[in-house]
Symmetry: C2
Subunit: 371 residues, 2 copies
């Protein structure tokens, strides 16, 4: 019998830049020419049917003009495409075109594109570089920081995936103008959540400038793009493996995700999150962590962003409670909630513990009382 | 316009132990009780139909007796199971049973099980710990060091996967006795390759002890298990991302993999590799990097291990050349080969360059002249 010790300790540097600006397609090509991903000459541009013509094709054309090898891979827009099947289809199309390890993937689109293309990049040839060109507010708020990639399966959302950092992220604010109002509003849900959990200043900025944001005025969009990234970075940097602190990003998501699933994706992620946040602030207020006025302010801001905080009639509230409390995350009959402490902070229940187990009875009360 | 710099530099420690011994199932449970994977109480044991009864179930029973939550996930034995579909089936079965992030995967079996279960572990909940209980010589020689996990697709072998290190590897030599002779011989192919590329001493040991190895005598099996790991570790440790040095592990694989594919997996990996190694030594001899006698010694050792170095009649040699030179790795009409320098070393063509571009004409000559 013998034991071998394999020493595999090393320094990993996954640092990257996020560039926030207007019409960054030329800048992307310029960065590549300056060696952003080394000597790579071949690029797989992955996008969805919504973004193909507006950004996917134009980026391909610019890359071809610059002398690179490029192919465009397009899948149907929407959360329902975020599956293992779509991933396999993209992989097979890339293999068919002869892509091997010496390529780079460019994700062009919103959160679904980033999550999926990042996952493809992380497992293609055991990992090729990828660049994220974010065209939606939601992608800017949620997908630009944290390195989370994933697909959904019939039994779980975002559970199959990996942590994989991009080489660079571009947040093209000009693209927000092309978003339908509903998408823009939905994207605001995570932005407001960030303000709620980390910055009272940002919250008041949002209260005062919501109209400017929804009109995509430059100063307002830049402000929120920057602050979203900073807040998320501060949380993620301190806790990359989601052990403790990172859990605060789940604020509002406990109920939000259940509603999203029960709506069978009739609600967009942000629309479901707005309702989840309404439930969360009611719970936080009930437990004395924030005032009724503060809870009301949060709901009002969501409404100002064009998001309803009401549970749709087609969702059965008893079924919602049942879904929450039969979830596999429930332990000893209790489900854990992140809770707000006033506006701009969260409750730390014990050092490093940012979620509180809540009994089914109390959760039912809150959900039944919601508007 | 603004640029945020995300600093994500950190020290990663993926060190782990390889334990080589006889009947290590009790030792595995003991290690878990001592905290090998922390406080995890739930284990998904992944195995194939060959290994289920001999090791899969016995390991599960031991874990259950020790008070752990355990489920056994079994797929059909064989390289043809190493697919995205099998991975998805295992994931869905785990989700169905309620596995979330707080679990550990135990791979029990040969190289296919390790490659597949390691890939499942690397993307389940964005990465859960995994333990490798290797029951074959091939897994001991090839899959215990390097962290490579992958599946095959219709268009590519091992191209979808990731680098993911186990928490510990157990090499149970007792299990080798249960292997059919054909499997044991096939497993010897990588072992002989390791000797060829790194250790003249090991090569002579194999020449002198092949009968003892094929009878699974303890001293001989321990010797090769240990030396396989050490050689591979020395190569891999110096070059985790397969940029230069690690390429030497592809010795014999250029032709070997093509033959494996053309045989439609009638040949086992090691059987195909033996033929690939025969082609490689002929090429090395032709180019003056080794003598004809040394080339002959290598082929003789493969034959002693029960492996034919002849190309089977059902493989068309012209088709083999065509497959090699239409491969996507071909550049400027040349395919790169790692070549032996005598026995126990490889040729370093320039600093850090361990492969030489070979013209189709020369490769055809070698292949046509092979026995």
């Amino acid at each position: 019998m013998s034991i071998l010790n394999l020493e595999l300790k090393k320094v990993v540097d996954d640092s990257y830049e996020i560039e926030i600006g207007y019409e960054l397609m030329d800048k992307l090509v310029e960065d590549l020419e300056k060696g952003l991903v080394g000597n790579i000459r071949r690029f797989a541009v992955i996008t969805d049917s919504n973004v193909r013509d507006l950004y996917g094709k134009p980026i391909c054309e610019r890359l071809i003009r610059a002398g690179y090898g490029v192919d465009l891979f397009v899948f149907a827009a929407g959360e329902k495409s975020k599956t293992r099947e779509t991933k396999a289809n993209v992989e097979d199309a890339m293999l068919e075109k002869g892509y091997r390890r010496d390529c780079c993937i460019i994700a062009v689109g919103g959160g679904v594109v980033t999550d999926l293309a990042g996952f493809v990049a992380g497992t293609y040839g055991r990992g090729v570089p990828f660049i994220n060109y974010a065209t939606t507010l939601l992608a800017a708020a949620d997908a630009s920081v944290g390195g989370k990639t994933a697909v959904d399966t019939p039994l779980a959302t975002n559970l199959i995936g990996l942590f994989y950092q991009p080489s660079k992220v571009y947040i093209d604010i000009a693209a927000w103008k092309s978003l339908p109002q509903r998408q823009l509003s939905s994207g605001m849900a995570e932005t407001i959540k960030h303000a709620c959990l980390a910055s009272y200043d940002m919250f008041t900025f949002l209260e005062q400038n919501m109209e400017h944001i929804l009109e995509c005025q430059k100063f307002a969009c830049e402000y929120i793009a920057e602050n979203n990234c900073k807040i998320k970075y501060n949380v993620v940097m301190k806790d990359e493996r989601e052990s403790g602190l990172r859990e605060v990003l789940n604020l509002g998501h406990t109920v939000g995700r259940a509603i999203e699933t029960l709506s069978d994706y009739r609600l967009l992620h942000g629309e479901a999150l707005a309702i989840g946040m309404a439930a969360q602030v009611q719970l936080s207020a009930r437990l004395g962590y924030m005032s009724e006025e503060e809870a009301h302010r949060v709901c009002t801001l969501y409404q100002k962003a064009g998001l309803s905080t009401k549970i749709p009639d087609y969702i059965d509230r008893e079924e919602l409670v049942k879904k929450l409390y039969t979830d596999k995350k429930v332990r000893d009959g209790k489900l854990r909630f992140v809770l707000q402490k006033g506006i701009g902070d969260v409750v730390e229940f014990a050092p490093g513990v940012f979620a509180k187990p809540i009994e089914e009875e109390l959760a039912r009360e809150i959900i039944m009382e919601l508007e």
